[in-house]
Symmetry: C2
DNA sequence: TTAATATTTAACATTTTTGTTAAATAAAGA
DNA sequence: TCTTTATTTAACAAAAATGTTAAATATTAA
């Protein structure tokens, strides 16, 4: 593997790949070092401890999720267009890194710490207000805007998170599943934002 | 804790509680023994190794998911009633054990083994056929029946699986979140099975 | 009761994972 | 160049987790 951005970054990126892309939540520092093709001591040299590496990775995962949200909500698109964009971006991102949320969830459970997050005021609150407004306009089904948001993220995230189970139960091949995930962009939009 | 069903069962039940209810996927045999209030050696006495305990727990998790499916599909209810029942049962079950699927997913990823499951022919295939039929009747929106099924399970499972993230981002209290999950039974049904 | 069996415990051993130290090598600046 | 600093490695140490053994206790059936 190329170490263009330096070894420290390489280690962190490799850890993310193992956790977020491969879903190997039990990976050890040795596993990470091996995958990165470096001596395990470097993990300690750059991060001092496994715990700190994990915390950095978790913090950046959270930051990445924030980025997705903010990338959508800058610019003056209509709600409808924002929604389309969010679905497309989120599904693309999550297809590449399906287990990122899962990592956050399990790390949070591991240390019995809920997450007090600032993303609420900057992104979630305005988004919920937009949803409310769109309901008042009669464009989407009226419900608790938070339920709307939960529905949206459920439909986007779950099939990628649980692809192993879905594919197993429904006997869908890897290739076809990818196709289906692409189709979901349109499908989710139509469910959430019905034409009439 | 009472050991009515014997210590072996107690250990297994405790492991399930830690994995499925608390989402502590990194729990050690010591953690499990402590939570069960027994000597760790008993884990080895009854299960020989940590690996075997995990495999048994995973196999039973899978069996429990099958049970949910079959409990719905015996009896001669209409599709509409089956759907209502499935949503209600699944959400109740998953509220109690939100991380059961997550355990299966991570254990599957850990050992690079997909799951070749017999549940397909007995439950999933007939369910998909029912969905198709209902679409032909014009009762539900026409789409790939597998997408319908994915939507259904996404809407049911994800909010419970990712409750930590949802509550954190949207600033919802534990108590209120439970209320919202109850409301989702009706809400999901209406999304999936629209009145007109 | 007693002998056989099942269950539980403590002590020990091994393996795995994590963390530390010091030395070797490479890179960069004076 | 030489000297300082950064990076990497190997060897070692400590801790954590898993697995094994044998003895103690409880249970059961003859």
């Amino acid at each position: 593997m190329v170490k263009d951005k330096g070894t420290e970054q390489l280690i962190k990126d490799t850890a993310k790949k193992i956790f977020f892309a491969e879903g190997k939540l039990h990976a050890t520092t040795q596993d990470i070092a091996d995958a990165a093709g470096v001596n395990r001591t470097l993990v300690h040299y750059y991060f001092r401890s496994r715990k700190i590496l994990f915390e950095q990775v978790a913090e950046e995962a959270l930051e990445e999720l924030r980025q997705i949200m903010s990338s959508i909500f800058i610019g003056k698109l209509s709600f409808k267009e924002k929604l389309k964009k969010l679905i497309s971006v989120f599904i693309d991102e999550t297809s590449a890194l399906p287990y990122r949320e899962l990592f956050l969830i399990t790390e949070t459970n591991r240390h019995n710490q809920g997450l007090e997050d600032q993303v609420h005021d900057t992104h979630v609150k305005p988004f919920l207000a937009d949803i409310k407004e769109e309901m008042d306009k009669g464009n989407i089904t009226v419900m608790d805007p938070r339920q709307f948001m939960i529905n949206l993220f459920s439909l986007m995230a779950y099939p990628l998170l649980a692809s192993t189970l879905s594919k197993g139960f429904m006997r869908i091949s890897d290739h076809e599943y990818i196709q289906m995930m692409k189709q979901r962009k349109q499908l989710i939009f139509e469910m959430i934002y019905p034409n009439k």
